[in-house]
Amino acid sequence: MTAATVAILTSPPSLPRIARRVLPGFGLTLGLTLVYLSLVVLIPLSAVFIKAGSLPLGELWNIVSAPRVVASYRLTFGASLLAAAINTVFGFMLAWSLVRYNFPGKRLVDALVDLPFALPTAVAGIALAALYAGNGWIGSLLAPLGLKVAFTPLGVLVALVFIGIPFVVRTVQPVLEELEIELEEAAASLGAQRGQTFRRVLLPLLLPALMTGFALAFARAVGEYGSVIFIAGNIPMVSEITPLIIITKLEQYDFQGATAVAGVMLVFSFAMLLVINLLQAWSAKRTGRGR
């Protein structure tokens, strides 16, 4: 992959462009960028595929399809999908409130939306575990209802919702800010109810941004480790996420097993990256915004 990438990137651009190039430093900066990128990111990442590829195919398959590993995929992907869906609904409401309404403390709410980006995942993990444990502020309210969150798959869901919040809000918010007010005025003057305007005019315009936010939150959730392990309980087959499987295998010095599972996660990451790029291109086209 690395060699092909370098070949594509360094192939000469069309001639007229060279003639227009006034600024200095193109060769130097691009060269340094490619070297640093290769050393820090591309070569290390390729190690996963080379190592996993050196395993016999049958053995590779046995590792990545072992029941305990498959159970972890089910939990990781299922909880991530659900968390991303929850984030899409509530993140949209939060973005809507921040753009369209004024309320006391708005500045604080707007700033704290980015907390999951800034707060180390381990800190988020222990804080959520303390809140949702049986004797915690929220956990003690849920316990009489027979609802256990901490140390169950529900705990995984809570942690993944936390880390996904900014993705939806920050993707939808700028699009909402730039929507033309005339669209809604036109719909209203033509006799549309508020609900109709929302469904027929606003939602189609916001859909690409909502889907991008969903995909970003989902992709982030699947790889998440730090905030989950403290609240999950980590019971094999029940509340064990895939990144934890990798850690467990490493602690048993099972490097091949860890690498094989990591390979599955990487392939998924690349697929999500492609999907997100396509969604963003669609979103930019739909709203007429450049990158």
């Binding site: 594509i8 990137l9 190039r21 006034v22 600024l23 340094l32 960028t33 490619l34 640093y36 820090v40 990111v41 591309l42 070569i43 290390p44 990442l45 190690a47 996963v48 939060l94 809507w96 921040l98 753009v99 309404y101 004024n102 309320f103 708005k106 500045r107 707007d110 700033a111 704290l112 939306v113 800034a118 707060l119 180390p120 995942t121 381990a122 800190v123 988020a124 222990i126 804080a127 303390a130 502020w137 929220i138 936390f162 919040i165 920050r170 007010i181 809604e184 480790y225 730090g226 990798i246 850690i247 490493l250 490097f255 690498t259 996660m265 990451s269 690349f270 990256l273 997100i276 990158r291």
Partner: protein, 293 residues
């Protein structure tokens, strides 16, 4: 960076004043109530919980947990790692943004995507790749062992993993900013005889400084807070290869909750400072924008 709150209040007033863009009052209250409940449950309470748990046993226990020698060692290591990783990615980010934003070449989109790659990789996988390269069974493991160089389960491994996960922050902040800025001013400076570095320092830098600062503080927050990737390569040696997040984990797993939350509260403070700076920068950038208009 979106225009943010500065335009926010005026914009919201416009929406609320216009009958065509406002909801019935009961609907508005319902949406606000749901959104703010979600905010309090998932964002506000976890933050409050960190400080409340940290101070549960009083200030003396809190301070004792912070000045304990392993805690101090972890704070030192965390700062050291950030001091190495952040400048590296700052320099890289500026160089990459210059190449991508100021020139046209084939494969530009691919290159931009590749720079973002570390954001889509699970932190655990990010740590694993450095084990595969430099671990005892890794590609360079034998060579490193023969030359008595320790990378994995030592500070260099922690730095490498941190550099990997914080790789895109500065570049991705600068690229759209420098693209939007165009090339005319730099080209004029160059034609008038400025060297490349002079052009960058006098023409480009003043207009990207806030974006640059923004990228750096985000990069720093992640560098100091990274857990998964660092956890794989650190080896968890107390007082030697434990960063603050790893120290939090160890204390927590020992059921020493007050101390775990005390160290965690420092990281939470760092997050709050990061968010405050971010809000300030957006406010500054918004003001510059309005003046320019």
């Amino acid at each position: 960076m979106s225009a943010g709150v500065l335009h926010g209040r005026a914009l919201a007033r416009r929406f609320e004043a216009n009958p065509a863009t406002r909801e019935p009052i009961w609907m508005k209250r319902l949406i606000l109530a749901i959104a703010l409940t979600f905010f309090v449950l998932f964002l506000f309470l976890p933050l409050v919980a960190v400080f409340s748990e940290a101070l549960r046993k009083g200030w003396l226990v809190y301070l004792a947990a912070l000045v304990e020698s392993d805690a101090l060692a972890s704070i030192q290591l965390t700062i050291l790692v950030a001091v190495i990783a952040v400048p590296l990615n700052l320099v890289f980010g500026v160089i990459a943004a210059w190449a991508i934003a100021k020139f046209d070449f084939r494969g530009k989109r691919l290159l931009t995507t590749l720079i973002d790659l570390p954001f889509s990789v699970s932190p655990v996988v990010a740590g694993l790749i450095f084990l595969l390269l430099f671990g005892a069974q890794g590609w360079f493991g034998t060579w490193l062992f023969e030359h008595d160089i320790k990378i994995v389960f030592a500070v260099p491994g922690i730095v490498l993993a941190t550099v990997f996960v914080t790789f895109p922050f500065v570049a991705r902040e600068l690229i759209p900013l420098m693209e939007a800025q165009g090339r005319d001013e730099e080209e004029a400076a160059t034609v008038l005889g400025a060297s490349g570095f002079q052009t960058f320092r006098r023409v480009t830098l003043p207009s990207i400084q806030w974006g640059l600062l923004y990228g750096v503080i985000l990069c720093n927050a992640r560098a100091m807070g990274e857990f998964g990737a660092v956890s794989v390569v650190s080896g968890h040696i107390r007082g030697a290869t434990n960063t603050m997040p790893l120290h939090v984990e160890i204390l927590y797993n020992e059921y020493n909750f007050a101390a775990a939350f005390a160290v965690a509260s420092l990281l939470a403070l760092l997050a709050l400072v990061t968010l405050a700076l971010k809000t300030f920068i957006e406010w500054r950038a918004g003001r510059v924008e309005t003046v320019d208009d």
